[in-house]
Amino acid sequence: MIEVMKTLLAAAQLPASEAESTAYTAGYETQRAAVDALYEVPAARYVDPALRFRAAARIEDWAE
């Protein structure tokens, strides 16, 4: 599993140390199971995500 973790970190170009990769791996299986459980929510099968794209959106300066 640590090779999976190293691959994921490398793909994102995150230079984690060996110790950090090992520590992340320790929690990864539990985390992955929790993420996979989101696909087992029946009510979400045909639901739009809480994301929206607005064609007319502009970038407004927050300090003006």
Partner: protein, 472 residues
């Protein structure tokens, strides 16, 4: 100091009655900072001269009848991930470009300034509003004024400790997984996470774009209401901000007709403080004595929303930080880079699925709020942990174990408003906290419930011993 008002609300009243001045309030706040800040690490930057000048101006304005509202002349802290013109924003990080936001006020800061608040300084945070303290970095370690060997909570650590220690009467925090409510709980003060989108979050260094909230920490629910009234309202610079201004409701202490849903499931895990159950039951009993009808409920999609918060925050934070992480990994705090790296461990589809389940949970919680007006839970199952207890088996912070005892991230995922108020103490004498959640844009209901509770109790007025000693 002990003769000065303890709450923003009382201070505002005293200012108008002429029994205290803003300069006196501000000088007392500065004196407390002089005595305590080196120990508890509340501030990253202090603006003593600026604050005293603002206080003097406030006194003059109030004397000639120019009243800007309850924040006028009130010492006020700002978490240092929110831009303020008087100093650079650091996010308590070596990474953030000091030119970001330089010379500018975030909309929330501009609003509290316009309301006459006396901003005394920029308060400490966990780096970029996530992670944990890192003694290897050149920043103060925030400590809890109730016991400096314990963590004050985060990430709005300095805002929580500053209110508790009398360095300001209210301040701004941010909340993405609990960062207003955790320090409020551990420091024994009140804190309000407003409904997502009610308060503009632009001008604040982002952590999770779809999760971030700016809100107040203060002594009481009434104090939080006064700050929210100033903060709320549309701002075009935040694409999530909605036109939903807030007016302080009537605080009559009467909860007749209010339905309170009490949640126990998942909130009393093994390892909970022995005082938690009795303290929580007593708090619920106070709400009932005030007229509320109490029913037991469960929160839908509990674990899924905790997972959604983790995925969403990780992915959104990684998008913001990836370039800097690639080149300056070691300059980040250890716990920060661990949290942000979780965004690399999920796929784009996982992120979208999390947003689909968030929508399902929003709908479910909306239906639950058709049957109750307020939901009550403990904020955390334990009091502030010692720094030693936070260390994992390899000496690194064990955030997973900590968050099994903290019950805040669910509400960031669904976006509802949540107020936390002190409700008693652990067996070791550290604060415990009651969490009151409401329907979207239902801040008035939870603030009225919190105020009613505080009319019957004085937990929110308890002052940590170190602060008392400093004030003597």
């Amino acid at each position: 100091m002990t003769d000065l008002p303890q709450t923003l609300t009382d201070a505002a009243k005293a200012l108008r009655e002429g029994t205290v001045t803003s300069v006196a309030l501000t000088q007392a706040a500065i004196d407390n900072a002089d005595r305590l800040d080196a120990t508890i690490g509340t501030y990253l930057a202090r603006f003593d001269d600026y604050a005293l000048e603002r206080a003097s101006t406030a006194d003059a304005e109030l004397a000639r009848g120019e009243d800007r509202g309850p924040l006028h002349g009130i010492p006020f802290g700002v978490k240092d991930i929110i831009a303020m013109a008087e100093g650079p924003t650091t996010a308590q990080s070596l990474i953030l470009d000091r030119s970001w936001g330089a010379g500018k006020d975030a909309p929330t800061v501009a609003r509290v300034k316009a309301a006459g608040a006396v901003i005394t300084g920029k308060a400490t945070t966990m780096e970029f509003a996530c992670g944990m303290p890192d003694a290897t970095k050149p920043f103060p370690i925030p400590r809890n004024p109730w016991n400096p060997d314990t963590w004050p909570g985060g990430s709005s650590s300095g805002t929580g400790s500053g209110v508790a220690a009398g360095m300001f009467l209210a301040g701004l925090g941010t909340d993405t997984a609990g960062s207003i409510r955790i320090p409020a709980a551990f420091c024994g003060v009140s804190g309000l996470m407003p409904t997502f989108g009610r308060v503009p979050k632009s001008g604040c260094v982002p952590l999770g774009y779809s999760l971030d909230h700016i809100g107040p920490l203060a002594r009481s629910a009434r104090d939080c209401a006064s700050v929210l009234e100033v903060l709320a309202g549309f701002h075009a610079s935040d694409p999530d901000c909605v036109d939903a201004p807030f007016s302080v409701p009537e605080f009559d202490g009467d909860l007749s007709g209010v339905r309170v849903g009490v949640v126990r499931e998942n909130h009393f895990p093994e390892g909970s403080d022995p005082a938690l159950a009795g303290t929580f039951d007593a708090a619920v009993a106070v709400l009932a004595e005030r007229g509320a009808t109490v029913v037991e409920v469960t929160l839908p999609y509990w674990q899924e929303m905790i997972t959604a918060d983790m995925i969403t925050m990780g992915c959104e934070a990684l998008a913001y930080h990836r370039t800097d992480l690639n080149s300056r990994w070691d300059d980040y705090f250890v716990a920060t880079r661990a949290m942000v790296a979780t965004g690399a461990m999920v796929s784009g589809a996982d992120y979208v699925q999390a947003q689909r389940v968030r929508r399902v949970a929003q709908d479910a919680i909306g239906r639950l709020f058709e049957t109750v007006d307020v939901i009550a839970t403990p904020t955390a199952s334990v009091g502030a942990p010692t720094f030693d207890a936070l260390a994992g088996p390899n000496g690194e912070t064990d955030i997973g174990a900590l968050f099994s005892m903290i019950h805040t991230p669910y509400w960031d995922s669904v976006g509802n408003p949540v107020l936390v108020v002190p409700m008693g103490f652990t067996v070791d004498g550290l604060p415990l906290s009651l969490q009151l959640a409401g329907p979207a844009f239902g801040e008035a209901a939870i603030l009225r419930a919190g105020d009613a509770y505080q009319q019957s109790t004085d937990w929110h007025l308890r002052v940590p011993e170190p602060a008392v000693q400093a004030a003597a």
